[in-house]
Structures are given as structure tokens and as C-alpha cells.
């Protein structure tokens, strides 16, 4: 099923399909290792609900929900 990264439930995993756009945010997301086919897991949100914490390429990455929305993912189900 295809969706965006900000919609993953806590503990949910997905696979990166595409980063939308070509601005600073998109470039930074790619530089941080969110490339096509990479696995990514949602670990949880900050106490105030944003930013979000993910695990990708063996490290913990922080993104705002608005940034995570730019990442198209494929989930198993």
C-alpha cells in the first residue's frame, strides 16, 4: 500500500518510493539516506506531537511531520 511517511503508526515500517520536490528539504532528506528502496521505521513523536523520530540506515533521524509528508512510502499491507 502506498502512503506518506507521516502516516506510519508507531513501530510501523515502510520502504521509500520517492521524495517529492527538489527544494532544500527534499535534497536534505535524500542526503540523509532516504533513497528509493530504503527501509524506514517510525519510532515515535516528540511530546508535543512533532517532530517525529525514525530509524533509517541504522541511525535515528528526526523529521517534522511536514517534512515526512514529502516522503512517499510503500507499506507491506
Amino acid at each position: 500500500m502506498s502512503s506518506t511517511l507521516d502516516t506510519l503508526p508507531v513501530g510501523g515500517r515502510g520502504r521509500v518510493v520517492e521524495i517529492m520536490g527538489d527544494d532544500a528539504v527534499a535534497v536534505r532528506l535524500m542526503e540523509m539516506g532516504l533513497t528509493e528502496g530504503e527501509d524506514i521505521a517510525f519510532l515515535g513523536a516528540a511530546p508535543l506531537g512533532d517532530p517525529l523520530e525514525f530509524e533509517v540506515r541504522g541511525y535515528r533521524l528526526l523529521l517534522r511531520a511536514s517534512e515526512a509528508r514529502r516522503v512517499q512510502i510503500q507499506t507491506a499491507d
Binding site: 528539504v25 539516506g33 511530546p47 523520530e53 541511525y59
Partner: protein
């Protein structure tokens, strides 16, 4: 070996080398820099931007190495002038630092995959490069095993393992730095063109025989081991762009930058070409043509299946995977470490916020009360020195200059040191252990409401105690627009120096009425209101700055959550020391100069002979041992009264006093008389001075105690020539609002100059805050008068 090699015994000249250190944030880069340079560093700003320039020296047997500590970065794709600095330094295009002879690329071993992305870009520059795997202990803890020898072979680079915070592997790295710039150690493809920047091989730094055992330094086939990563279609577009640029006369534009120009959509280079800056000279029409060319080229690339900018991440990460294949072994599932468990508590919905609030409370308490304790020692010391000077020098302009100008100025600098030291002790500790990233994570949502990010929280909160360390603490904010906005609003936070003004005005004029069953006290409520006013006003001001001066999309928050580690006391103390030293040497001298100038304005051009005479007679009385204390004070009392009266008259006739009269028409709408005007003028260098100045002007002699009853009654009794009282509640409110919003602190302005590297920003801060203060005071006066 070159034939020009001079035998070591007669070699006198020390070769000088320049080595740049690059790496991702949180890789221990600064720790490594400190370990290599022994802690001593020259710091400043690169011209025209807010990036800190940090240079260190490393001595070895036959050469002197200048180390450049570049700011931590995730990539070499410049989006702003600040990010361009790193690229320019590496390319040898930054005129104020030398052309680097080599690059040390530091990598967090526990996160090697993501870190190698930057390495891949650095290798494109073509300088001799050393790869340093730092924090190998953390990697091992995570069950990650890296075969450094195999990695070195695959990358054709020297690869060293270090634990910089324990100073492990540093000597090997020193030797490798020297070796890589002298020996024909492997160097990546795409050399630096004409060979500029290649070290002269004329004098060998260290004979080959003494070169350390080549553990992972094993020389492998030179240049060429790393092929081109990008698809052929991309290369032909690069070539096309290069020939286009050459046709326009841009012949020596480095290949690295041609490639960046093509890859970075909306990047810094695209705009730099249009601004006639950065060594490129395209006119507007050519710039349009260039942008059109780039659009077409990117479209062609997209059609050929290598869409810009995605192609870069794709090919580089593919290369990283290939390099790490068979080199790194990691556990199937990422083990849950102590760091992860700690985060479950520290970033938890409830406990995370509670612990954060408690921590901030401790920091704030320390800044507010511990610093006050240390500051009282500073002031006592200042008093003692002044006493010594007064005893040694007879009354006159020199004595006045020394006591009221120089010693007061030095004291005015030193008095900020306790707060700077305490704040940076906390910040260095929190940053070194990895908590600062969590603080930004916790507070980001709140700060995005004003258009800032979580990283602005700690600097702004610290500014409630004192804006000086607060402004200095904005260095943690990488984004220039966010950092500048934070710097500009930080002085609005109610610092501790505003308290004496509030105490004086509230104590004198706000009735101690209580309501809501004695729970709320009007005086306390006013104090609370005044303390919050600056922060409340800062919200729309910050928003406005983000919409006008620092317009642009909000910077990505995207960052790594680093692993917790024990802070290193050495690193923490070094950082505190350098901050304190930078403040004293850079800002301190300017603060001293301003204090002396204001002293001169309040001293000249009046004739002080009467005061000297009184001072002489007073000291004679002091020295009479035949009298009791009571008798002495009885004799001195009329003289002190006389001295206070004369001093007040002298102040009125001084330039400062004249200026006070001059601005009276301007301050009348605020309900002020010329005396308040003088007090406000005198307190522009330091707002707490108002209490002492009002004391002098109301002929009370020197007092700086807001609880002083003589001063209080003088204010309460002060009248206009027509007999009306000068002060009432509206005037007190207007004075307090003015002080809440005005930039009356030369030290803060000097620190802003230092942090921004530009006189324009302190001038702007001063102008906007003064305008804001005037408007605020006027509104407060008008509104209060309507109700009074």
C-alpha cells in the same frame, strides 16, 4: 624521491601545511581538532557570514600544520553563503585561509553508512584524504564491526581508527597527516587540475624509513581506484555546461563547482552567478541564459533517467553500499542500547517534558542566583580597587577617569563573566553528552509557532538571565536566518539588569494593593508583567523578521538524534575557557571604550574644582584619628550634602546633561522630565546605571541601591516647575516599559557585532529596540493616563 631532497641534518626550514577537517555534525570533529591542536585555536568569522573560522596549529618534527576546523555538515551541496564557505575552503578559494594540502574526513563509525555520503563528495574534490573512523567504541557497542584495512583497500585511502575523546589514535593520525601530504599515498581521481595545492615534494617531511608502520596506511595503487560514480549522460551534461561557461570567459571555474551547479537546484551557485559575486562575472542576460541552460540540461537528464537532484543521492549511496559490502558486519536487528533506554524516559511524553523543565530551571537558577553570588565578588573587587586608587591619587580628572571610566568599564566587562561561564558550562555539558539535540526535539513544535526552530529555545531562555551568553549560545543554530532572528530578539528577553529599574519604580509608585483574597499583589503582578513583556513582544517581532529581513522557507529540521555519551571534562572546560576568553578580548575592549566615552560625556566640560576641594576635605576628615566615628560622620555630613549638590549641578552642565535638556521635547510625550532623559541617556551603555544616575541627579551622591529610601523619597517628591509631581503611575509604567524593550546594553551590542561579524546588525538592533521602546512607553503612558 625528488632529487632536491635536502639531508635532514641541515634542514632548517619548516614546511608549512594546511589541513582541513570535515565531518558530519556529532562525529566528535571538534574533539579531534582539539586533540590534534592541543586545544589552542584562533577563532573569528569568515568575512561576510556567520560561520565561525577556527584555526589550530599542530607541530610535528619538520613541519608546521595549520588545521582548519570546518563546520559540521551533512553534505557539500551549498544552499547559502555560509555553506559555500566549507566548499570554498576545500577548493582553496577562500582567500583568508591557505589552500589545503590534505583533508581529514571524520566519520562516526557507529553510523558509517550515512557518514560516507559526505566522504564521497569530499573525494570528488581530489585532495589527499584521510578517513578517520571515530567513536569505534560506540560502534562496537552497537555490535558493528568495521574492517578498517579492507575499507582502506576498497577506498584507496588511509583509514584510521580513533576515539578522540579518549585521545586514542591521535599520534597515528598526526603521522598519517604528514605522510599523506608528502608520500605518494593514494589520492582520489579528479585531481585539482593544474596541480595548485599539491604539496611541494621538494623537502620531505619525514624520511620514508621513519614513516609509521603502514597499518591501514598501506599504499595502494594511486589515483584511479575510484571511478566516476555518475552515469555517462550526467558527465556529458557537465562537459556541455563547462564548455558553455568557458565560452563566457569562466575558464577556471573548478570542475567540482560545475557539477554542483548542475546538481543543486535552487542552490547557492545559481544565485551567486546572478549576483556578480564569488569570482564569477555574468551579466543579467547571461545569467538568464545560464538558468535556461540548467533547466534544459536537467530536463534532458530527467528524460535520460537520471533526475536531478535524486541522481546524486542514488549514485553516492549505491557507492557507499558497495564500499561497505564485506567490510562492515552488523547484527540483524539493531540492539537496544542504554542510550535508547535513556531516551524512552528523556523524550517521553510526560517525563521528558518534566525533566526538561527541571533541567532548564536549574540552568536558569544557576544563571540568576549563582552568578549573582559570583558577581558580588566582582563588584566587591571593583570597589576595593577603586578605594586603592582613590587613596593613591589626589582628586582630579585622572582619578575620575580611572575610577568612573576605566575601573567601572573593566568591572562592567568582568561582571558578565560568571554568567557566561555558567551558561557555557551547562551548554557544553548538554551538547557534549547529546542532550541538546533532544532539547531541540522537545521544544521544536513550540518554537515553530514563531517561525523559529527548537534550537532557538535554549539561547532565548538563557537571555532571560543575560542576553550576552544567550547571543553567544546561538552558535548551535546552523541556519543563518534562524540564528540571526534569534540574535535580534534575544535582547528583548527580560535580563537580570532590568530588575533594579523595576524594583525602584514598582517600590516607589505601584501601590501594594492585594486582591483575589490576598493571593495577587499588584506590585508582584506588575513585576510579572514587565518581566514577560519582552518575550511577548518578541513573538510578533520574530515573526516579522522571518517574513521580511530573513524571508525564506523554514530550514529543514531534519537531523540525526546522536547517541548519548559521557561528556569529556576536558572538552567542556576548554569550550568554556574559549568562550570566556573570546568575550573578554573581543567584546571586552569595546565595552571598556564605551564606558570611558560615557564617562567623558558626563564629566566634561564642567569645572570640577569645587568637587576636588570637597573630596580633599572629606579625606582629611577620614584620616583624623583624634575623632570618633560619630564625630567624623557629623563633620562629613554637610560636606557630603554639598558634594551631592555640586555633582548634580555639574552633571546638569555636562554634555550628557545638556543632551538631556536637548531631548526633553522628545521625552515629554512619555511623561518624562529632562532628569529622566539624562538617566535614560546615561544608561544606554548599561541599563542598571539608571539607578545611580538618578541618585546623582537628585543630589543624593552615589547610590546604586534601588531600595535606597532617600532616592525613593526624592523620586516621590520630584516636581515640575509648576509644582505638579513628575512621577505618577503612568510615568513609572512608561519608564519601565521603555527599559523592558530598549537595547540599553553596550555589551550585548558588542557581542552581536562579534557574532555577526558586522556593525550593521548591532546598529539595527539598537535602532529597532529603541523605536519599539519609545512606542511602547508612549502607549503605556497614554493608556495609563486615560485610566488614571
Amino acid at each position: 624521491m625528488p632529487s632536491t631532497l635536502v639531508p635532514r641534518t641541515t634542514e632548517k626550514n619548516r614546511r608549512s601545511l594546511t589541513v582541513a577537517i570535515v565531518g558530519n555534525p556529532n562525529t566528535g570533529k571538534s574533539t579531534l581538532f582539539n586533540a590534534l591542536s592541543g586545544g589552542a585555536a584562533l577563532t573569528g568569522n569568515y568575512p561576510g557570514c556567520t560561520v565561525e573560522k577556527k584555526l589550530g596549529r599542530m607541530r610535528c618534527k619538520d613541519c608546521e600544520v595549520t588545521l582548519i576546523d570546518l563546520p559540521g555538515t551533512y553534505s557539500l551541496s551549498p544552499r547559502s553563503l555560509d555553506e559555500m564557505v566549507t566548499v570554498d575552503v576545500l577548493l582553496g578559494r577562500q582567500p583568508d585561509v591557505g589552500h589545503p594540502d590534505a583533508v581529514v574526513c571524520i566519520v562516526d563509525a557507529s553510523n558509517i553508512e550515512r557518514n560516507l555520503y559526505l566522504v564521497s563528495q569530499v573525494l570528488d574534490i581530489g585532495l589527499p584524504t584521510i578517513l578517520v573512523l571515530n567513536m569505534t567504541d560506540v560502534a562496537e557497542f552497537r555490535g558493528l564491526r568495521i574492517n578498517a584495512t579492507a575499507l582502506s583497500r576498497k577506498l584507496s585511502l588511509p583509514v584510521l581508527e580513533t576515539q578522540a575523546h579518549r585521545k586514542r589514535g591521535i599520534d597515528e593520525l598526526r603521522k598519517a597527516i604528514v605522510a599523506v601530504t608528502t608520500d605518494e599515498l593514494p589520492r582520489p581521481l579528479e585531481g585539482v587540475g593544474s596541480g595548485e595545492g599539491r604539496p611541494s615534494l621538494g623537502i620531505d617531511c619525514e624520511p620514508r624509513s621513519e614513516t609509521p608502520a603502514p597499518h591501514p596506511l598501506t599504499p595502494s595503487p594511486p589515483a584511479g581506484a575510484r571511478g566516476n560514480l555518475f552515469p555517462a549522460a550526467f558527465d556529458s551534461e557537465t562537459e556541455l555546461l563547462r564548455s558553455r561557461l568557458s565560452a563566457w570567459g569562466e575558464t577556471d571555474f573548478p570542475p567540482f563547482l560545475v557539477r554542483r551547479l548542475l546538481l543543486d537546484t535552487g542552490g547557492y551557485l545559481e544565485t551567486a552567478f546572478g549576483q556578480q559575486s564569488h569570482g564569477v562575472h555574468l551579466d543579467a542576460a547571461r545569467h538568464e541564459e545560464l538558468l535556461a541552460h540548467l533547466r534544459d540540461a536537467r530536463q534532458r537528464l530527467a528524460d535520460a533517467g537520471c533526475k536531478v537532484p535524486a541522481v546524486e543521492a542514488r549514485v553516492r549511496y549505491a557507492w557507499v553500499r558497495e564500499m561497505l559490502d564485506g567490510v562492515v558486519t552488523k547484527p540483524a536487528t539493531r540492539p537496544v542500547t542504554f542510550s535508547d533506554k535513556l531516551d524512552r524516559v528523556l523524550t517521553h511524553r510526560v517525563s521528558g517534558l518534566v525533566i526538561f523543565a527541571a533541567l532548564m530551571f536549574v540552568v536558569f537558577q544557576a544563571l540568576y542566583s549563582w552568578a549573582a553570588y559570583l558577581q558580588s565578588y566582582c563588584e566587591a573587587g571593583q570597589g576595593w580597587v577603586s578605594g586603592q586608587v582613590a587613596a593613591a591619587i589626589s582628586p582630579g580628572p585622572l582619578r575620575s577617569l580611572l575610577i568612573d571610566g576605566v575601573i567601572a568599564g573593566v568591572g562592567g566587562v568582568l561582571v558578565f563573566l560568571p554568567q557566561i561561564v555558567i551558561l557555557f558550562l551547562f551548554i557544553a555539558l548538554l551538547e557534549d553528552c547529546g542532550y541538546m539535540a533532544r532539547a531541540a526535539f522537545l521544544m521544536d513544535k513550540l518554537m515553530t509557532k514563531v517561525g523559529l526552530s527548537g534550537k532557538s529555545f535554549v539561547p532565548l531562555m538563557s537571555s532571560f538571565a543575560c542576553a550576552i551568553p544567550g547571543v553567544m549560545a546561538t552558535r548551535v543554530i546552523e541556519n543563518r536566518r534562524d540564528r540571526m532572528t534569534t540574535i535580534l530578539v534575544a535582547p528583548l528577553m527580560s535580563c537580570s539588569a532590568r530588575q533594579p529599574v523595576y524594583a525602584l519604580m514598582i517600590g516607589c509608585f505601584i501601590p501594594a494593593t492585594t486582591f483575589a483574597g490576598d493571593w495577587i499583589n499588584l506590585q508582584g503582578l506588575t513585576l510579572f508583567g514587565m518581566t514577560s513583556l519582552g518575550a511577548l513582544v518578541a513573538v510578533p517581532i520574530a515573526w516579522l523578521f522571518r517574513k521580511t529581513l530573513f524571508r525564506g522557507e523554514p530550514p529543514p529540521f531534519v537531523m540525526e538524534l546522536p547517541t548519548y555519551k559521557w561528556p569529556s571534562p576536558r572538552i567542556v572546560l576548554q569550550r568554556v575557557y574559549w568562550q570566556a576568553r573570546a568575550f573578554v578580548t573581543r567584546a571586552g575592549t569595546l565595552i571598556l571604550a564605551v564606558t570611558v566615552l560615557v564617562w567623558a560625556a558626563s564629566f566634561f566640560p564642567a569645572n570640577h574644582a569645587d568637587v576636588y576641594d570637597l573630596q580633599r576635605r572629606l579625606s582629611e576628615i577620614e584620616l583624623r584619628s583624634d575623632l570618633t566615628d560619630e564625630a567624623r560622620s557629623e563633620l562629613a555630613a554637610p560636606l557630603l550634602d554639598e558634594q551631592a549638590r555640586v555633582s548634580a549641578a555639574l552633571l546638569e552642565r555636562s554634555w550628557l546633561g545638556q543632551a538631556g535638556h536637548l531631548i526633553e521635547p522628545a521625552v515629554r510625550p512619555l511623561g518624562w522630565d529632562w532628569k529622566i532623559g539624562v538617566g535614560v541617556l546615561a544608561s544606554f551603555p548599561a541599563r542598571e546605571v539608571i539607578v545611580g544616575t538618578l541618585g546623582t541627579i537628585y543630589s543624593l551622591g552615589g547610590t546604586d541601591d534601588p531600595e535606597d529610601s532617600a532616592l525613593r523619597s526624592a523620586l516621590q517628591d520630584a516636581t515640575w516647575p509648576d509644582g505638579r509631581k513628575v512621577y505618577n503611575v503612568p510615568v513609572a509604567l512608561s519608564v519601565m516599559v521603555f527599559f523592558a524593550l530598549c537595547a540599553q546594553c553596550a555589551s550585548t551590542l558588542m557581542v552581536i557585532r562579534r557574532e555577526t561579524g558586522n556593525w550593521g546588525w548591532p546598529a539595527f538592533t539598537f535602532a529597532y529596540m529603541t523605536a519599539l521602546a519609545y512606542a511602547g512607553a508612549w502607549i503605556a503612558y497614554r493608556v495609563a493616563m486615560a485610566f488614571a
